[in-house]
């Protein structure tokens, strides 16, 4: 007779460590020798959990009056009875397990000559390194367009190459971290994510430059560059963490936001530490100049410009009053 279900005990990386066959329901889980499935975990109760089939025929996992309770990893609060299919895994004591009904489908059989299944297409090395190279080339092209001295092609190529190297190291560090908590490093995935972030960052800078040139005052560089920059940083950390861990997405989004927020806070505090903030001699001209035809440049007349200048006076007057 076939099994009714399997209980798979998982390790920290989510890999199956042991499988226990369930032949009869209900089945008891715990440390006690009377249980159907024995767990060598001092944090579990002698009879900790019970698997049974409810009236609808659904497989349920239930707390059998344990000391430390039944949990679903990533969610808060003990659970009492949950359908086996409603949770990817359960935790009792320090043991993580999942309950797999016998009727669960499995992947189709590989043909005899099929290759070992590899990572998803976007995680493969060729697209990942192509994106990294594109980021390097984009940087190099930008440098070349900006160069007004005697430009040195060797230097520009070296700079472009260093972008690729930095991306590779960055992705490598993330891959090492991923390998520590999961069974695969997923280097390609990390490199793709980081390269995309750099490319998007360059695009943002370009757009911000044109926006600051065309609409000074209306959209300041701070807003155009700062907010997308912030969003991009959160997205970068988010995707790295999605690749690296099996935590729920909502939790990862919170962590990514918190990390970027912490960096931002440190930055703000460090700036405050300078005392006066911006130096009294520093002039911020808003010097974004682009070679556009004047027909494309929205402009005001001289009278309108100088009527707005009066605002500056009240700003510096109130600064003087506060600082006096």
């Amino acid at each position: 007779m076939g099994a009714l279900a399997w209980v798979e005990v998982l390790d920290a990386r989510g890999q199956v460590r042991q499988r226990h066959r369930v032949d009869a329901l209900p089945a008891l889980l715990g440390r006690g020798y009377g249980c159907d499935i024995l767990v060598d975990d001092p944090w579990t109760s002698p009879i900790h959990a019970r698997i049974y089939r409810d009236l609808d025929g659904t497989l349920q996992v239930e707390d059998a009056g344990s000391e430390n309770g039944l949990w679903i990893p990533g969610r808060s609060g003990r659970v009492h009875a949950v359908a086996a299919s409603a949770a990817p895994a359960f935790r009792m004591g320090r043991t993580t397990f999942r309950v797999v009904p016998a009727e669960t489908p499995v992947a189709p059989t590989l043909a005899a000559d099929a290759e070992v299944p590899g990572p998803a297409r976007w995680e493969r090395l060729v697209p990942a390194f192509s994106l990294a190279a594109l980021a390097g080339i984009g940087y190099g092209v930008g440098e070349m367009l900006d160069d007004w001295g005697k430009h040195n092609n060797g230097e520009i190529i070296a700079d472009a190459f260093s972008i690729v190297v930095v991306l590779t190291i960055w992705a490598g560090v993330w891959a090492l971290g991923t390998r520590a908590v999961s069974h695969r490093a997923r280097f390609g995935g990390h490199l793709t994510v980081a390269s995309l972030a750099v490319l998007l960052g360059m695009l943002c800078t370009l757009v911000a430059g044109f926006a600051a040139f065309l609409f000074p005052g209306a959209l300041t560089t701070e807003v155009v560059l700062f907010l997308p920059g912030l969003a991009l940083s959160v997205a970068l950390i988010y995707w790295h963490l999605v690749i690296a861990s099996s935590l729920p997405r909502a939790r990862i989004a919170m962590i990514a936001t918190a990390v970027v927020g912490a960096f931002l806070l440190v930055g703000v505090l460090a700036e405050d530490g300078d005392g006066e903030g911006r130096a009294v001699g520093r002039l911020e001209f808003g010097a974004d100049l682009k070679p556009l035809r004047t027909t494309f440049i929205p402009a005001q007349d001289t009278a309108a410009f100088f009527s707005g200048v009066a605002e500056l006076r009240s700003t510096v007057d109130s600064l003087a009053k506060v600082e006096r």
């Binding site: 006066e276 929205p298 605002e311 500056l312 006076r313 510096v316 600064l319 003087a320």
Partner: protein, 428 residues
């Protein structure tokens, strides 16, 4: 830029010493100089501004008695620290007997760099202040206390009032040295022709004319020698009146024009401007810059790193045959961003600059236009302003212009910058 003659502590260097003719060398001087020295040296005491708690010297200079009631005249820049921070500094004079006496500041004329002091009278002999100017080439004698060398006499030649200056200064050919600030320059009869104030090196020295000294003494006498209640407020008032005065008509009426890349731009808008042009083309560099700069040299000393009355405007034309327009604009942008206009000052005296940047149509062209303003914290109603504009949309040609004003009222700064900008025309 001229150099002021007050000595900060630690300025004594071997190089400067060479430029000094100490009193001991008077045998080599002409007989009249020896007579002048003997007769008048005692009327020129040394002034020391001391840090209150430590008693350490912060500034030394010279002064001279103007009456028998203990009133003296020196430079404003000798006692400026005391005026700005009476809680941190005190001042004293060292008379010819070597006795120290406390002095206080009665009133100041910050525009001419003069201060009227008072001390306890002790049978001091005053110097008479001359009426009118001496003849060109007249021999004059400057007295003062350079460095720590004791009372010194320097011979010089009167070379008239500086042409086209906003504030009158006497040009003296003679080597004034740091520490002689505030000392008198007298004729053979002991009449004060001017007050030692600054040097441009190479025996080119400057004096505050006697008329300003007489006016300050008269104002002091009219107020029964009572001290001005709030000296800093008075300094601010003087600067506001002064700057409103020289900016009132600036860039109105007929203004001479210089043309760069088809753009007509103002030049030497008043006789006190010095204008010059310079082309900047290095071998093998793919772009060319031509600069036209006008400055007035009439700055007003406020502190060692802060000058009011800076009045400067200039234009730079950039062209390139080799650079693509994106590369050219990268150069143009970095040049526009360059905030070399370092006006000095610290956060103690000034707020930071606030700027307004817009694209503006003016004179048939579109300009990236910026106006920046910062306020003086301790001198009410005074500001520094920087105006800057760069012509847009001409591919590999660009004209940039800027105007810098320091120690002016905000109304004057705005009005002057607007008039300046409205003078500019693109004559296609």
């Amino acid at each position: 830029m001229t150099r002021l003659l007050a000595v900060g502590c630690g300025l004594l260097s071997a190089l400067c010493l060479l430029a000094v003719r100490p009193a001991a060398a008077q045998d080599s001087l002409s007989g009249e100089t020896a007579v002048v020295f003997q007769r008048y040296a005692a009327r020129v005491p040394k002034i020391q501004v001391l840090e209150s708690t430590s008693g350490a010297k912060a500034v030394t200079g010279s002064a001279f008695y103007v009456d028998t009631k203990g009133h003296l005249v020196t430079n404003y820049h000798v006692v400026s620290k005391l005026v700005a921070h009476p809680e941190r500094y005190r001042a004293e004079l060292l008379d010819s007997a070597g006795t120290a006496r406390p002095v206080r500041v009665l009133r100041v004329d910050v525009i001419h760099d003069l201060a009227l002091l008072a001390t306890d009278p002790r049978r001091d002999v005053p110097l008479e202040v001359a009426v009118g100017l001496p003849a060109q080439g007249r021999r004059l004698y400057s007295l003062g206390h350079p460095f720590e060398l004791g009372i010194t006499i320097v011979e010089g030649t009167y070379n008239g009032l500086m042409a086209h200056a906003l504030t009158p200064r006497i040009h003296l050919t003679g080597a004034l040295n740091p520490g002689m600030s505030g000392g008198p320059t007298i004729d053979g009869a002991g009449r004060v022709v001017g007050v030692n104030v600054s040097t441009a090196g190479n025996e080119v020295s400057f004096l505050v004319p006697a008329t300003a000294v007489r006016a300050l003494i008269a104002a002091g006498a009219a107020e029964q020698w009572t001290p001005t209640p709030d000296l800093l407020a008075d300094v601010a008032r003087q600067l506001r009146t002064y700057s409103d005065g020289y900016l009132r008509e600036m860039f109105t009426g007929e203004v001479p024009v210089t043309t760069m890349a088809g753009v007509a731009l103002p030049t030497r808008a008043a006789p006190f401007f010095n204008c010059w042009a310079d082309a900047d083309q290095e071998e093998g560099r793919p772009w060319r810059a031509v600069e036209h700069l006008c400055t007035s040299d009439d700055v007003v000393f406020l502190s060692e790193d802060l000058w009011a009355g800076v009045l400067e405007f200039g234009h730079t034309m950039y062209t390139s045959d080799e650079l693509s327009s994106t590369r050219f604009y990268s150069l143009y942008q970095s040049s526009f961003d360059d905030d070399y206009q370092w006006l000095g000052g610290s956060g103690e005296d000034l707020t930071r600059f606030e700027c307004r940047t817009r694209n503006v149509e003016q004179g048939g062209a579109t300009w990236r236009t910026v106006f920046c303003l910062r306020a003086y914290k301790r001198l009410e109603g005074l500001y520094d302003a920087v105006f800057k504009a760069a012509q847009l949309g001409r591919g590999n040609v660009g004209v940039m212009t800027r105007l810098t004003l320091s120690g002016v009222t905000a109304e004057s700064a705005e009005r002057t910058a607007r008039r300046y900008f409205e003078r500019i025309r693109w004559e296609r």
